[in-house]
């Protein structure tokens, strides 16, 4: 009772006092799901850091067009191969960093060195350049040759992830990121907000947004509510359940794919019939539009359809419990221990409704005759199951995972997920290993068809896993903004693309 009156009192005063706070109408407020730990450009591959840093503070050599336009120049104006393992890039002239120094080949070389430097754990380095040795040669101030061992046929694509920092940047995490982008970090009030303001000396077009304030709320519904009440202009990630207003809420493919990894090393999952039965036993369609957003697509591969080599011929396995049971019975007749208890492992808060999805999957599998139990783990524990080395006496495990590949090339996925040495691979198939190696080294159409063959082999021949859904994200954009989220919104928000109505 008392609380209510406090609320009422507060509210009536609030109405009179809150309204004038809106500053210039070219300022925007963006609400992210997590507070930023760091704002170092070399960590920009983490989605929330990327949403602040990428192309706003720090720019990259090349840029992947979110609306499907392929790879575009950014700080590199053009590129060509010198030989199998060396690429030459011509850099844009007249670009200055926000600290006033001008951009040149020196800076590119330094940035490449920095992301793989010892004593500094850079996610970009680990993600895009892990396992290969990169050397650079500065031809002149605006020309640079980059050599990779082993050869990297998609070097320009990889460089779309590399943030360029000035050559003076120390080999430790910086809290004052300097970049060539149209915005500078002007305030970082830890725990409250991060503020970017527009630069006057940017080399490209002057964007419309003058100031961007990033705030952080971990609760989905609060983020949606903030855009609804006008406290924020853009929430790149909201829950599907809150995305109820067609005027402000957008679904966009977020390049995430949900799948169940089958442990092909342990009986009974080492039997292909059992794996096929696992694919047949679930009614994928039933999820769509219920606990999985209607805009999601059923998957046949671990990468989204926009990726090269994606195989349109692959068919989603039909829901056929009878056939699943028959396959199980067949396997059982051959002495496969199909009654062994299989552990279905899910990751808590992996995506909206993950718990319901896992419960539904469990129910379907049990219905088809699998002896299965469900365990949900928070990320740290889940990783122990998902990544090598696997425990010795783990028993048959089926692990739910969501994989993100927004880069358009399967190379960023296949080795890790399917090669014998791949960190999250529970497959030991020499044929697959060879196909991955071949495709990685190939270029052009050859590359496309090699990947395509691999997908077909994995899906139809050996049934390596249970592919489920290509997911969509939901975002809420204030009606005063002229902005449509794309697949890129999962990793970056280019403030320069935001306009006002």
């Amino acid at each position: 009772m008392r609380k209510l009156s406090v609320g009422l009192l507060g509210a009536s005063l609030a109405m009179t006092m809150m309204s004038p706070a809106l500053a210039e109408d070219t300022d925007v407020t963006i609400v992210l799901s997590e507070e930023l730990d760091l704002i170092d450009p070399c960590m920009a591959s983490q989605s929330n850091i990327g949403r602040v840093v990428l192309q706003n503070i720090s720019e990259t050599m090349t840029e992947l067009d979110g609306s499907g336009g392929g790879l575009m120049p950014r700080l590199a104006e053009s590129w060509e191969t010198v030989d199998d393992d060396t690429w030459r890039f011509s850099l844009r002239k007249g670009v200055v960093f926000s600290d006033g120094t001008s951009f040149g080949a020196e800076d590119v070389a330094h940035s490449l060195k920095r992301v793989v430097a010892e004593g500094l754990v850079c996610e970009i380095g680990a993600k895009y350049f892990g396992g290969s040795t990169i050397t650079t040669e500065i031809i002149d101030d605006h020309t640079i040759e980059i050599t990779s061992d082993p050869a990297q046929p998609i070097m320009p694509l990889q460089l779309s992830g590399l943030t360029i920092v000035p050559s003076e940047t120390p080999m430790e995490y910086t809290r004052e990121p300097i970049g060539t982008g149209p915005y500078v970090l002007s305030e970082w009030n830890v725990g409250q907000n991060v503020i970017l303001t527009r630069r006057d000396d940017y080399w490209g077009e002057t964007p419309a947004v003058t100031k961007a304030t990033y705030v952080f709320r971990s609760d989905d519904s609060v983020r949606a509510a903030m855009v609804a009440t006008g406290e924020a202009d853009f929430a790149p990630k909201i829950s599907e359940l809150d995305a109820t207003n067609p005027a402000t809420d957008f679904a966009y493919p977020n390049s995430e794919t949900v799948y169940l990894r089958l442990d092909t090393l342990t009986a009974p999952l080492d039997d292909v019939r059992v794996r096929q039965a696992m694919n047949l036993a679930i009614d994928r369609e039933a999820f769509i539009g219920t606990i999985i957003p209607a805009e999601a697509i059923l998957a046949t591969a671990i990468v989204p359809p926009s990726t090269i080599g994606w195989n349109a011929d692959l068919k989603v396995p039909a829901y056929d419990v009878e056939k699943a049971r028959a396959l199980l019975a067949e396997a059982k007749a051959d002495g496969v221990p199909v009654d062994a208890e299989i552990t279905l492992i899910g990751r808590t808060s992996n995506f909206a409704n993950v718990t319901e999805v896992m419960e539904a999957l469990l129910a379907m599998y049990q219905d088809a005759g699998f002896n299965m139990k469900l365990e949900m783990y928070e990320v740290a524990e889940w990783l122990d199951f998902y990544s090598q080395p696997f425990a010795e006496d783990r028993g048959p495990q089926v692990i739910e995972a969501m994989h993100d590949n927004a880069k358009g090339d399967p190379v960023f996925s296949m080795y890790f997920k399917y090669a014998s040495e791949g960190l999250q691979s529970a497959l030991r198939d020499p044929a697959v290993d060879k196909m991955i190696a071949d495709a990685t080294a190939a270029t052009g159409d050859d590359r496309t068809s090699k990947w395509s063959d691999l997908f077909a082999y994995l899906h139809d021949e050996i049934t390596a896993d249970v592919q489920l859904f290509h997911m969509v994200g939901f975002s809420r954009v204030s009606e005063r903004l002229d902005f449509t989220p794309t697949i890129a919104t999962n990793s970056e928000i280019q403030l320069s693309q935001i306009g006002f109505k």
Partner: protein
Amino acid sequence: MTDTDQIPDKALEKEPNAFAQMMRMLWHDKVALVAVIFLIIVAFCAIFGPWLLDAAATKQNLRGRNSPPFDMAKGWLFVLGGDALGRPLFARIIVAASNTIMVATGAVLCSMVIGSTLGLIAGYTKTRASQIILRLADVIMSFPSLLLAVIVLYMLSPSVTNIIIVLAITRIPIYLRTTRAEVLEIRERMFVQAARVMGASDMRIIFRHILPVVFPTLLTIATLDFAFVMLAESALSFLGIGIQPPEITWGLMVSQGRPYLTNAWWLSFWPGLAIILTTLSLNLVSNWMRIALDPVQRWRLEIKGKKQ
């Protein structure tokens, strides 16, 4: 030397037994009576719920999800609506009572037994052991309970038993400190000295003389704590480190239904209401017990109905 000192003499003949007297006091406090009846129903659900309704509670129907409440078309089990997987909420709430009550009861019992035993030792002995126990209580008190939850649930697994362990550990200091404080006082009472003069052993003094006197206080705290533990369990679920599906508790149901608050309120409302009503009942019963077990206050419950 109060004026009512001799009254029992007169009443000696018609002294009712303790149970009947309790029942009478309960009858006089209608609010507490309703609370007790509600708790009995909850206990019934907890014991027989899974046995009666488990099949109904796990039957999924993805295409008939989030069906609204009070629609009898789908059968009485759907009177409170359906959840995100199309399972009847009514059945699920009843089945979830089992785990919810088990977690709460287990945690309260464990912490009460361990806490009060340590408290008895700490209060009764004047030795170093008592100091160590007190420091231990301090450590537990300032040990972040969430960290404890993560540690236990990481090393073991998020099962009902382990949730009980986590919650029990965090509640131990409450009983420990209360028991110790009471024991320090009771230890000096005459009847304890009388027992000592008779040659009673420490064990006998502790368990026969001190414990029964502390017990009503512990019982009152335990009732309150029962409510607290239920809420703590639901907060753990909210933070994603509590019980995990396919196990269900009310707390888990609330946190699972949370995203639907704006478009399918009933998902989290009914289990939330179950928690509120149960904890409220426990609080009311605890309040009633505090009076009923206190001879000085007892008249408040005795005279109602005869006067006013």
